[in-house]
Symmetry: C2
Subunit: 352 residues, 2 copies
Amino acid sequence: MTKYKNGEIWSRNEEINANNGVILGVDGGATSTSCVCMPVFRFETENCDTLPVLSRVASGCSNHNSVGEAEARDVLEQVIDEALSEARVTRDAVRAVCLAISGVNHPNDQERILNWLRKMFSGVVKLYVYNDAVAALASGTMGKLHGCVLISGTGSISYGISEDGMEARAGGGGPVLGDWGSGYGIAAQALTAVLKAHDGRGPETMLTDSILHTLGLSSPDELIGWTYADPSWARIAALVPAVVSCAEVGDETANKILLEAVEDLAACVKSVVQRLHLCGEDKSDTFPVVLVGGVLEANKKWDISNRLIGCIRREFPGAYPIRPKVEPAVGAALLACNLLARDSSEGNGVHS
Amino acid sequence: MTKYKNGEIWSRNEEINANNGVILGVDGGATSTSCVCMPVFRFETENCDTLPVLSRVASGCSNHNSVGEAEARDVLEQVIDEALSEARVTRDAVRAVCLAISGVNHPNDQERILNWLRKMFSGVVKLYVYNDAVAALASGTMGKLHGCVLISGTGSISYGISEDGMEARAGGGGPVLGDWGSGYGIAAQALTAVLKAHDGRGPETMLTDSILHTLGLSSPDELIGWTYADPSWARIAALVPAVVSCAEVGDETANKILLEAVEDLAACVKSVVQRLHLCGEDKSDTFPVVLVGGVLEANKKWDISNRLIGCIRREFPGAYPIRPKVEPAVGAALLACNLLARDSSEGNGVHS
C-alpha cells in the first residue's frame, strides 16, 4: 500500500487499506492519460499532504477526437486495469470511477463513454464522466465541485459549476477554433507576426531571431514548411517560452500577443463566472479560480497568470486564485469520493 | 492535335503541330495538379481565345509539404508523362517545362524540385520552378511576368514581380500561420464566432443557425468534434458561402469577418506592391492585379473582390484588376514559352 504526497506515491506499510473498496480517478488530457486508484476514505481538505494513493498509471492520449474511438477506449481500459493490478485489487473492488477526458464536449460524448464503462463494471459501481476541465477544477478544490477552473496548456478552456450544480464552459475549441490565450494560440500568433514582419505586413520584432534560433532555422520562409511538417499543436505551443522571453526584454509585438492572451483568457473566465452568477448579485461573493497548465505557471518576470488574476479581480473582487497541489487524476478521484458519499447517502447515482 | 478555347481543348485538324517541340506547364495547387502540353509557338496576347493545347491532364496534390516528397514527385512525373502521351510525343520533344507548385517557399524547395526535373529531362531542356502563385499571375497576364497576383481559395497568398525581375510575396503561410482572408481564415473566424456566441464571449449571430444547418449539426458544442474529425482545411473553407449569405442579409458578425478579410487581403497586395515599387514614385503607375480563387469570384451581392479592388485603388489608383480567362497550368505554359524565347535568344537559361 502506498500514500500520495506532493505528486509521489508513499511507501507501503500504512494504516489505510482497500477493504472498503477502491475508487478510480482518470484524467485524459490532450497528450496523456493518468489513472490513480485510492481506497474509499473520508478526507479533510486541510491535510492534502497525506492522501492515500494505492497506485498511479500513465499512458497515451484518450481524446476520442484526436486518436479515434477504438484507441481512446483501449487506452482507458488499459490504464484502469493496470492501476487496479498495481493496487492488487480486481474490478470487483471498485466502488466509483470518475473519468475526466478532453474531448467530452457534448452529452453524446458523455453517454458513449458511460457505455464503455458500463461494459467494464457492474451496475452497482457509480460512474461519472466529465470533460478533463472538471478534474482540473477538483484538483484545486480537493474534490469539491464549485467555482471556476482555467486551463491554458497546449489548448485552453474555462469551466465552472455553481453550488446548485449549474455548469458552464467557454473556449476549449481546439486549434481551428482558435483557443486564443492557449499555448498554441500564443505561439501561432507569434509565428504569424514573424511572417508578417518578414513580408512587410507587420513591424520588425525580436520574435524573428528568437523563434528561428529556437527552431534552428535560417529564414522566416522556412517556418511555413516547419509548421506543415508535423500537425501536432503541442509542437507549436512549445514556442511560448520564446514569446515570454521577448516580451520580458520589451519587444512590443510579443507584449501585445501576451496582453491579448491575458484578455482572451480573462474573457473565458468572466463568461463562465457571469453565466453561473459565481460572484453573487453585487459581484463581491468569493469563489475559487483554479489555474492549471504551462502557460499559467508563475515562474516568469512576465507573469501571465498574475496579470490574468488582476484582470479578473478588477471585475470580480471575490475571485481567489488556487494553484492545485495535486494532479488532476487525484482531483478526479477525490471528486468520485465525494460524489460516491453523496449518491450513497441519497440512494441515487449517475450510473445507468 | 487540339486547340484550347476558354478552358476546352479544341478538336484536331488544325494547322499547329509539334514539329518544333513542345512545352509543358504544370500548376500544382493545394488539392490538385494540372499539366498542359502546348507546341512551341509565338502568340499574341490579344488572341487568347485561340491557344493551341495538345493535351491536358489532372491528378492529385503535389505540394510536398502536404503529401510528402515521394508522392509529390510521383504525381508530377505521372501528369507530365500522361500529358506527353496524350499529345503523342515523347520526353525528347520537350523544349521547356514550367512547374508552378504550392509549397515552393524557399530556394531549397526550388532546387530540390529542379533536381527531380533534371533527372527526367536532358540538359538542353529549359526548366523553370516557381510557387503556384506565379502560374496564377501568368494566367492573368498571358505569360508575362509583371504585376501582382492575389490568390484566395482555401489558402491565400499574394505574389508580385517587377519589370526588372525583383520578386516579393506576402501571406501563404498555411492554416497555422493564419492565411487571414483565405477561405480557411474566413470560415475559421466564423466557426469561432459561433462558439463565442454560444459560450457568452461574443454577440449572437446568424452564423450559428446557418453553419449548423449547413453541417447538419444541432448544437455549437458539436462543432468542436466536427473540426477535429477531419484535418483537411478545404473542408473548413467550404463554409465561406454560408458566411457571405449571412453578411448579405445584414449579420454584423459576418460583415465584420468579411471586412477584415478584405483588409487582410489588401494588406498582402499592398505589401507586395510597395516592396516592388509597382506603383512608381508618385503611386500612379498602372500595374495588373490578377485575382484568382473561389473567395474572389465576383458572383455575390457581398462582393469581396470588388471591395478589395476599391481598397487597393484608394492607395494605388493605377492598379487594374484582371480575372484570368485561362487556367493557371496554361499560364505556366505561356510563361515557359516566353522564358524559352528569352533564354534562347540570350543563350542562357535557368536550367542546370
